[in-house]
Structure formats: C-alpha cells, structure tokens
C-alpha cells in the first residue's frame, strides 16, 4: 500500500501550475470555425416556422443545422437503463424552456456566428408556462411536456417511484406524535469555471475527433453516435481534462451539435458557451419539494414515515428518473424507519432541465431528513443527537428498498462527531455499537421489526 494514508501530490499539479494542462478550449487546430446556437426566447411555445436561409447566405457562415440534420433527433440520455427519450437535440415543433436550442451555426468568427443565429427567423405561438411543481397536478395547469406534467414511465408504466414497507397505518396508529415538515431546496447552478465546451475535428478518413469536457466520456460518445446513427468507430473522443464539472458535465450538452456542424461544414468547429449561457441554459441541480410526516413515540423512536417528493425535472427527463430513484432509496437518511410510504414524482416544468450534482438525488433528502430530525427533537424536547443515535441504522437493518446493511456507519460517525464538537453523549450512546439491536433497546411494538430475529 503506497498510496493509502500517504500525502501524495496530484499527478497533474506541475502541469496545472505551468500551464501545461490542455483544456478543450486550448486545443488549437488551424481553420477552426466558431459555433453558436439559436435558443428559444420563450418558456413554452409552438414553433410555427424556422427559416435559416438568410443565415445560410451570409458570407463566412459555413453550416447551419436544425432538427432536419439529425438522424435520430430524440434520444434519451439513459435509454440504456430503460428510460425512454423525450428531448429533441434541436427543437422541431415545440420549445419547452427558455434557452432550448433550435438551430446552430458554424462561422468564421464568434461574433459572425452570433449574428448568423440572429438572422434565423422563427415564428412561435407562445403558450402559458408552468414553473411551480406544486401546480403541476392542477386540472387547469399549463401543460409543460408532451407526456403530461409528470414522468409516466417508471417500471410497469408507473407514474411515480413508490416504496411501501411494513405497516404504515399501524405505525401512525401507534404514534404518540405526528411530526410534519416541508422542505424545498432550490435549483443550483454548478458554475464550473470552464463553461460547456467542445471541439470537433474531421479526419481525412471520415472519422471525427471530439475534444470533450464531459465527465462521462464513453457515455457521451454513445449519445453522439445514437443521434447520428453512426457506429462508435467513426468517433474518436478525447477527454479526461475538465475545468470543473460537479455533475454538470454528465449531460452531453455540446458534443452532438458541434459534430453535426463539423460534418456539414467539413471543417473543425469549436463551441464554447458564454458564462451567461452557462448560468441560464446549462442544466442545474434540481429544485425539490419534499413533504414528510413521521409517526413518532414520545421517547423519540420513529415508527413510520410518509413522504411525498416532487422533483423539478425542468422541461425534459434527462437523468431525473434515476435521481428520484436514488432519492427514494435514501429517503430515511442514515437512519432506519421500519414502516414507509413514499411517493416520488418526476415533475415537468418549463424550467431549464436539471441534472446530477454532487450526490444526485440524495443531498436533497439528507437536508430534509436532518432538518426533520431537529424538528422531531424540538417537538419532543429531546437532545437531537439522542434522536439520531436511537434511530441510527444498525447491522441487519434494511434500507427503504430492502437491502440489508452489513456495515452501517451512523453510530461511529455520530460518536466521533459529537466528540469533535465537544458534546458529551450519555454513557449509553458512547458505548453503543453498530451491532444488531437487542430487544431491551426497543419499545415493545418495534421488537419484531427492528430487533435481532434470534432474540424472539
């Protein structure tokens, strides 16, 4: 073991401090054109017509692409996981968020490419837009998505990710107190210092080299190939150097459109988003709406949890069904609650589509759970650490989706943390281990659900 526990320098540190690192925007190929996109100025609108003729006629403009240039315009980012596609690469008949790309241009300079996008004429029929997940289920809500206002394609064509565990009605009947809370973390932009960027270079033999800042190389390669209906061996991806991503560079945001422009112009093409584009139109961490009701005993045991989650996917699904699935599996946090009723919806709104960010789907529910535990402690007048230790996950407990925990870390982490911040836990909790619970720790009605099966 040379690495574990050692203070090794970064493998790329010397390159970083001498500017030896070559980011995508640093690739220099003579004759490279600049790309720009025409983006929707509306949150929700039908497209009545698209006329690119003026842009095409401009001197110095070498390619203009629209949906007509894409072999498979709608391709789901995670079709491989059984999640069907819903998002066009370039809008065809409808735009569903402000900033959605409709057409793209490759031209001699960045300013010229910008002017060419402005010369593309699009007519719209503007429709009312939906921005609030709480209104999505109203009968008179604007329609955000062609599938309706929430994603309908979970396994078995269910319209939600749901979890049912134990006997939730019994838990609520046994409770001394019901503690309720609503938690609404906002959308967050990743703000990598390198904005979305890519360069695509045609090779003489017909292969295209894609310099990509993606966080998911082979995945992005598959997405580009699927849109083009090309075999993978017609693409060569060069990646691995990313100027910050934080989850925001798992979407294949630039590669396919830039490749289309390189194919059409027979020239190398670079597409680098402006900071404003990055803020306004690159995917964000989702906004979430979470409602929790916990059935609690007066000594702090959480018998059951009912939870409703509305995940704001924005205009298209992208990875959201996957994010909500992770969210569902983690919806009790680092604690074990034996009786559960969870409903999670991927709700469509006319906002920028959301994506992964540092703990995809899980940070939202950690925030909600931890805050809710404070609320429970306040309601009961108990020490919040005690509520946590009591309900901490132990060996043999199962996750909300039924996976047994073999090495949970809640107890040792809580003990170490309370030591670090100078809080003295009661003796009982100081000596507690993650070992399977013995019956004496438990109120009678939980023994069957949480105790060591060998004890009873």
């Amino acid at each position: 073991m040379k690495a574990v526990g050692a203070r090794l320098p970064r493998y790329d540190a010397t390159e970083h401090v001498t500017s030896g690192t070559r980011y995508v925007d640093d690739v220099r190929i003579p004759g490279t054109l600049w790309a720009k996109a025409l983006r929707s100025p509306h949150d929700n609108a039908e497209i009545l017509s698209i006329d690119t003729s003026k842009a095409e006629a401009m001197a110095g403009v070498h390619a203009v692409v629209t949906f007509k240039d894409v072999h498979k315009n709608v391709h789901g980012h995670i079709e491989g996981l059984g999640i069907p596609g819903d998002e066009p690469l370039l809008a065809e008949t409808h735009v569903r968020y402000k900033g959605q790309p409709i057409a793209a241009v490759a031209a001699d300079s960045e300013a010229l490419a910008q002017r060419a996008t402005e010369a593309i004429e699009v007519t719209y029929k503007v429709l009312p837009a939906l921005f609030d997940v709480r209104k999505a289920f109203d009968a008179d809500a604007p329609q955000a998505h062609h599938w309706g206002n929430w994603y309908p394609h979970f396994e078995g064509e269910m319209d939600r990710r749901q979890i049912r565990k134990g006997d939730i009605e019994q838990a609520f009947a046994d409770a001394d107190v019901i503690v309720q809370g609503t938690y609404r973390p906002a959308a967050i932009e990743h703000v990598p210092l390198e904005t979305q960027v890519c360069q695509v270079v045609p090779e003489a033999g017909g292969r295209f080299v894609v310099y990509s800042a993606t966080q998911a190389m082979y995945f992005s390669m598959g997405v580009v190939a699927a849109h083009l209906n090309w075999p993978l061996n017609k693409l060569k991806f060069v990646g691995g150097t990313t100027g910050g991503g934080f989850g925001g560079k798992v979407d294949t945001a630039t590669e396919t459109i830039t490749t289309l422009l390189a194919i059409k112009s027979h020239r190398p093409v670079r597409w680098r988003w402006t900071r404003a584009e990055e803020f306004l139109f690159s995917s964000t961490r989702a906004a979430w709406h979470m409602e929790i009701a916990d059935a609690v005993t007066k000594d702090g045991w959480i018998l059951g949890r009912k939870m409703l989650t509305l995940h704001d996917a924005g205009a298209f699904a992208r990875f959201s069904p996957y994010g909500v699935t992770k969210h569902a599996f983690h919806h009790t946090g680092a604690y074990t609650i034996p009786n559960l009723e969870f409903n999670g919806f991927v709700v469509y709104t006319n906002r920028t589509p959301s994506t992964a960010m540092r703990g995809f789907g899980v940070t939202s529910v950690s925030f909600a759970t931890e805050t809710h535990l404070e609320r429970i402690a306040q309601t009961l007048g108990m020490d919040p650490l005690e509520v946590r230790m009591k309900n901490a996950t132990r060996i043999g407990d199962t996750s909300p989706n039924g996976i047994p925990y073999t090495d949970p870390s809640t107890v040792p982490v809580m003990q170490a943390l309370s030591g670090a911040v100078g809080i003295e836990l009661p003796a009982h909790y100081r000596t507690m281990t993650s070992a399977i619970r013995s019956g004496e720790d438990l109120p009678g009605h939980l023994v069957a659900q949480l105790g060591n099966p060998e004890d009873h």
Partner: protein, 260 residues
C-alpha cells in the same frame, strides 16, 4: 459585420473634438463595463472613443479643492480620505479598481445592477462635474448631472474637502458583488450635513428629507424612504432595500457623529 470605428485621442482637446455632440459614440474609460458588452454584442456602437491616452487621468489639489480627472483609476482614490476611501475599497477587487475609472463609475448605467458606487458619494460631497457635449462645456452638481449623463463626456469632478465623511453599505460575502445599497454622509466645512444613496434609484440620489432630519439619525433613516425609488433586481428586492435603507442612513449619521 462592422467593427466600430475607434478614435484614440492623444490630448484633452482632441478628445473633446472627437466627441463633438456625442450621439452614436461609445466612450471607453477603463472598459470594465463596456468592453464585455461590446464583445458579447449587447452594445453595438458605430464609433468608439478610447480615452486612455487623452491625458484625463490625475488628481490635483488647490487649497481645499480636489479635482479628479475622469480617467483616474479607482485605485488612486484610496488616499483621498473619507468617505471616498471607504467607498472605493468596497468596489469590486484590486484588479478591477486598477482599471476602472472615476468617469466610468460616474457614468455607469445601472441597468441590471447598481454599479456606479461613487455616484452617491460624489453627491454627498457636493461635487461638481465638468463635462462636454451638445451645447459645449458645462459644470454642474453631480445630482443634476446624473440623469442626463448618457450623452456627455466627463472631463473631471471636483469637491471641497469635507469636515467629515462616513460610508455605510450592505456588506456582502464576496468582494465582487455589486453593492446592493449604500449611504454616504458628509459634514461640509460649514457644518451642513449632506446625504447620498446608491442602489436606491436609477442612479445615485440625494436624500433631502433625511438631511432635514439629520439631527436624529433614526428619524432621518425613516425620512429617507420619501426620497428614493426602490427597485427589485437580482441583487436585492425592493422590500429588502426598504427595510435596510433606514438602517444604513442611521449608521452613516452615527458614524459621522463619532468623527466629530
């Protein structure tokens, strides 16, 4: 695609002549606001006047009167005492302060964010702005200059040294953030109290009602609300500005008292 025609005068006289009566001509001071706007295509002037070689930079003193050339970088103002020093050290960061100019700050259009922090300070100081444009040269108080600033070329600003000055602002976590709201209080050499605010209207504003109540800082704070046009932007809501303006007025006046 046409790049703007660029004029680079090498003297004040040449700058005045090039500017003429203004019109479709963009004045580039330090360029910290305008250069990105032109590059991004948000501003597309047909002519641009670059002032860096026009000889408009520098601070001079005559008796109690200080005159600051329009092209003086903000960083050069930190030695001018309060309230200017405090206001300037709160503008952007040291790199931007080295490039941004007094003229650019005074003429910044506060379209998407308040970004002319010196406007309210110069109003409180009772500064005179000397500018040229249609109708020739004009010298006027900062508060009358500001509403019509779009079509003038500023040559310099001047003011008499105050007896005391104080600056109170909404502090923000990061050096880059624009100042959401700031209040400057000045006691002039003859003992008059003057108050200017930034972020409380389309440009820096004087606070006459608050000045009239200045003896009681808390009352002055409440009175200030009658003098302003509060607005929402990405930095702060009108509601927040309404709640904080009286506090800043009070703080600036209390600070001024302490420097008696």
């Amino acid at each position: 695609m046409e790049d703007p025609a660029v004029l680079i005068p090498t003297s004040v006289a040449e700058a005045i002549e090039s500017f003429g009566a203004g019109g479709d001509i963009a004045i580039i001071g330090g360029g910290t606001i305008l250069v990105p706007e032109i590059r991004l295509g948000h501003a597309r002037p047909s002519r641009a006047l670059m002032l860096h070689g026009a000889g408009l930079a520098g601070i001079s003193r005559e008796g109690t009167r200080t005159t600051i050339g329009a092209m003086t970088p903000l960083s050069a103002l930190s030695s001018l005492g309060e309230p200017i020093a405090a206001a300037v050290s709160n503008i952007a960061d040291l790199e931007i302060r080295g490039q941004g100019t007094v003229g650019g700050n005074l003429c910044a259009q506060n379209t998407d964010a308040p970004r002319g922090d010196l406007q309210g300070v110069l109003i409180a100081l009772g500064a005179t702005v000397r500018s040229v444009g249609a109708g020739g040269e004009r010298s006027e108080p900062a508060e009358t200059f500001l509403p019509g600033r779009a079509d003038r070329l500023v040559l310099d600003v001047s003011f008499d040294a105050p007896a005391a000055g104080a600056y109170a602002y909404l502090d923000r976590a990061h050096t880059h953030e624009y100042t959401a709201l700031a209040v400057t209080a000045v006691r002039t050499a003859d003992g008059t109290i003057r108050l200017g605010a930034n972020g409380a209207g389309p440009h820096g504003l004087r606070l006459p009602s608050a000045e009239a109540a200045a003896a009681d800082p808390s009352a002055a704070g409440v009175a200030a609300l009658a003098d302003v046009q509060l607005f929402d932007d990405a930095i702060a809501s009108a509601w927040y500005r309404e709640k904080t303006l009286p506090v800043l007025v009070r703080r600036a006046l209390e600070q001024l008292k302490e420097t008696a």
